[in-house]
């Protein structure tokens, strides 16, 4: 008993530094954000006016917030589907015994390590630019006239163009996660399935997918959290200010709270956006956890 108590004390001593940091840097600001979200406050002056749920009620009718929320949800769903679909295709191709597997894997992973600001400048000014961009020039060279005159970054298309960059830059990370799971599956399971006459698609749905479920859940939760909070790539894409079509929840929070170029200083309202975003992350994680049943396979 004494030994157990001593062990518990030691555990608390070792845990204390990280626990204190966690409480101070995450839990305390979160509680503080909840508190501030009930106030009308600029963030500058000391006077804070308690407004109850007014900030949250304002969100419901704020078309700018609803547009940003729509973009966030599109990013979460369409971006997620795109990233995972590509990651699965690449993992299948790389797992099919292709030569130079590591080289391809490195090439696919590379965009993930490039800073989002660099990606933004590269794609906006060098790839998509309607007059001098590589993409329109290439399409012109290939005589695909309809697409060569297509404006990838005008108001109607810019979100989808940036979403493509998000998928392109993130797919490498999810590929690595999925491949780590796939490579753990014993090859004899596939050999047996082949002997039984299973095709590739059947093997994917009956063997691969069930056996990497644990990894997949983690990867999807990663994506969900990342997508709901996404800021930097969309923010940097517009140069000195992101076009409205690129606003996500996180960007709108920043604009409303910290007066990016325009002197809007509504830290109370911005905190309400932050609270809603946090709730969204929790809900998304919960749904993913619940919708993908955890089963234990032993092999």
């Amino acid at each position: 008993m004494k030994m157990e108590k001593r062990r518990a004390y030691s555990a608390w001593i070792f845990l204390a530094p990280s626990l204190i940091l966690y409480l101070y840097l995450f839990v305390y600001p979160t509680i503080e954000a909840f508190r501030v979200s009930f106030y009308k406050w600029s963030g500058f002056a000391a006077n804070m006016e308690f407004v109850g749920f007014d900030n949250f009620l304002k969100l419901i009718t704020d078309t700018s917030f609803l547009e940003a929320l729509k973009n966030t949800l599109l990013l979460l769903t369409v971006g997620g589907m795109g990233s995972f679909l590509l990651a699965f295709i690449f993992s299948y191709l790389l797992g099919s015994g292709i030569r130079g597997k590591k080289v391809y894997r490195t090439i696919i992973f590379f965009p993930f390590i490039v800073a989002p600001v660099v990606l933004s400048i590269y794609w906006s000014l060098l790839v998509y630019n309607p007059r001098v961009g590589i993409l329109p020039q290439l399409l012109k060279l290939l005589h695909i006239e309809v697409l060569s005159e297509f404006l990838f970054t005008d108001m109607s298309h810019i979100f989808w163009s940036v979403l493509f960059i998000v998928i392109w830059s993130k797919v490498g990370f999810y590929l690595i996660l999925l491949m780590a799971g796939i490579e753990r599956i014993p090859p004899y399971l596939y050999e047996a399935a082949r002997l039984e006459g299973a095709n590739e698609l059947q093997m994917f749905f009956k063997i691969t997918l069930p056996l990497i479920k644990e990894v997949l859940v983690i990867a999807i939760i990663f994506w969900g959290i990342h997508a709901v909070k996404m800021f930097e790539l969309f923010y940097a894409f517009g140069g000195i200010f992101p076009p409205r079509a690129l606003w996500t929840n996180a960007i709108y929070l920043y604009i409303m709270g910290f007066g990016k170029r325009d002197p809007i200083f509504q830290l109370g309202y911005a905190s309400a956006i932050g609270v809603v975003t946090l709730l969204l992350v929790i809900i998304v994680s919960f749904i993913i956890r619940k919708s993908i049943k955890r089963e234990i396979y032993e092999y």
């Binding site: 002056a45 005008d154 894409f237 002197p263 809007i264």
Partner: protein, 432 residues
């Protein structure tokens, strides 16, 4: 033991001597100053020169400067929230007004302004271009922002290119359209370069057109009209029609609706477009991009027939300094700002940054001569975005710029724009 005693006496004497000398030379005070410029910018070099020179005159005052970039207000907000002392802030005037002045946390400068400037000749207030000190005052006229960098807005072009082609600076909108047609049909250059990806750049067209049609303050008044009826004035619809005509006639460079800043203005620098409507910061931004024989020219927004605004009505927007009213070095800040706004020091800023100064007697940089002359002759000064961004930033961003962008880029018709503006103005005021 004797040795220890000896050393203790030495230490005690040294400490006492230091204290006595310190008291004799006076206490050193520090002004913590955060600036909107980045350290690599020419404007930051000018500020560093001011500080260096000031230190020679007033060695007892330290200026602890941080070049925080354009996000300086956000950074100061966070720093002060975390207990960091910041005394003085340098930023765009309309942002300072919304963040410090209207929140009642800025140091009022009127008393200092009504005393002599640094060189002791005349009142400090009188050393500025008339109207600029009062531009960002509170509604009851209290001044907290000391202006230094004066910006305006107009068209920029390459004088040499225009001379070679025989193109003349237009004074009326009809002349402007005729010039665009000539450029389009007689050269392989696009008449106008523009960055459609920035909503506040798109608005440069609208607030200039509205000023020429209705004079200063029409946009601001419409925003303040809680019934939304003011948006029914035909001028608002006409302004959108004028903008859309520029696209319809192909005067704005092809593909510009897909430009993300700074792609558009780059075409002026590369000689692929003849002009660009922009702020007076443009020559400085493009100084490393233009060719050696590029000769900067600029002219004010032309007059529109039937409108009440004159070509001599000019935009004035200012970068300035504001101090926090909880500062412990108020008199030192006033003295430092008086020093910064002497003609000689402002000339250092003007020469280095290719910007104009709000201080009388400073020269206009060569690149800005056209607009500088127009400002000197200006009869009326109006604020950037007609003062809307400064007065109602949320309305400006989430209602006006949003709907204007839709109309400017042809996503909605002028009538739909007017309808949206009326409806959303009413809704905005209902929520206030």
């Amino acid at each position: 033991m004797k040795k220890l005693f000896f050393w203790l006496v030495i230490v005690a004497l040294t400490v006492s001597a230091t204290l006595v000398v310190g008291a004799a030379i006076g206490e050193t005070k520090t002004i913590v100053f955060w600036s909107m410029y980045n350290e690599q910018e020419p404007a930051a070099s000018a500020i560093k020169t001011w500080i260096k020179e000031y230190k020679k005159i007033k060695p007892e005052i330290n200026i602890d400067v941080t070049f925080a970039g354009r996000e300086v207000v956000t950074k100061v907000m966070a720093a002060r929230g975390g207990g960091v002392v910041v005394d003085l802030l340098g930023m765009e005037g309309f942002v300072l007004r919304a963040s410090l002045v209207l929140e009642g946390i800025s140091l009022v400068m009127d008393e200092a302004l009504d005393k002599p400037g640094f060189e002791g000749e005349g009142l400090w207030r009188d050393s500025f271009l008339p109207g600029t000190v009062e531009q960002y005052a509170t509604d009851d006229g209290k001044v907290s922002i000391i202006p230094f960098n004066l910006h305006s807005n107009g068209f920029f072009y390459d004088k040499k290119l225009w001379q070679d082609n025989g193109w003349a600076v237009p004074k009326t909108w009809d002349e402007f359209l005729a010039l665009c047609e000539t450029i389009k049909t007689t050269s392989d250059i696009a008449p106008i370069a523009h960055d459609c990806g920035l909503d506040f750049y798109n608005d440069m067209w609208n607030y200039q057109i509205m000023e020429r049609l209705k004079g200063p303050g029409a946009l601001l008044s419409a925003a303040e009209d809680k019934t939304g009826e003011s948006w029914g004035d035909p001028a608002f619809k006409k302004a959108i029609e004028i903008e859309q005509e520029l696209f319809d006639k192909g005067y704005i460079i092809e593909g510009c609706k897909g430009f993300t800043w700074p792609a558009g203005q780059g075409f002026l620098a590369s000689g692929e477009a003849a002009m660009n409507l922009n702020g007076t910061w443009l020559p400085n931004e493009l100084r490393n991009q233009v060719s050696e024989d590029f000769e900067w020219g600029s002219f004010p927004f032309p007059e529109i027939a039937g409108g009440v605004g004159k070509i001599s009505d000019m935009e004035s927007s200012l970068n300035g300094f504001a101090a926090f009213n909880d500062t412990k070095v108020g008199p030192e800040i006033v003295d430092f700002l008086k020093f910064c706004t002497t003609v000689d020091n402002q000339q250092i800023f003007v020469d280095g940054s290719w910007n104009m100064s709000a201080v009388l007697g400073t020269d206009v940089p060569t690149a800005l001569e056209g607009l500088g002359q127009a400002l000197e002759e200006a009869e009326v000064l109006f604020d950037r975005h007609d003062g809307l961004a400064a007065a109602y930033p949320e309305y400006y961003k989430n209602i006006y710029l949003k709907n204007h962008d839709l109309a400017f880029l042809g996503e909605i018709t002028p009538d739909e724009y007017i309808k949206l503006m009326k409806e959303e103005t009413i809704r905005y005021w209902e929520k206030q």
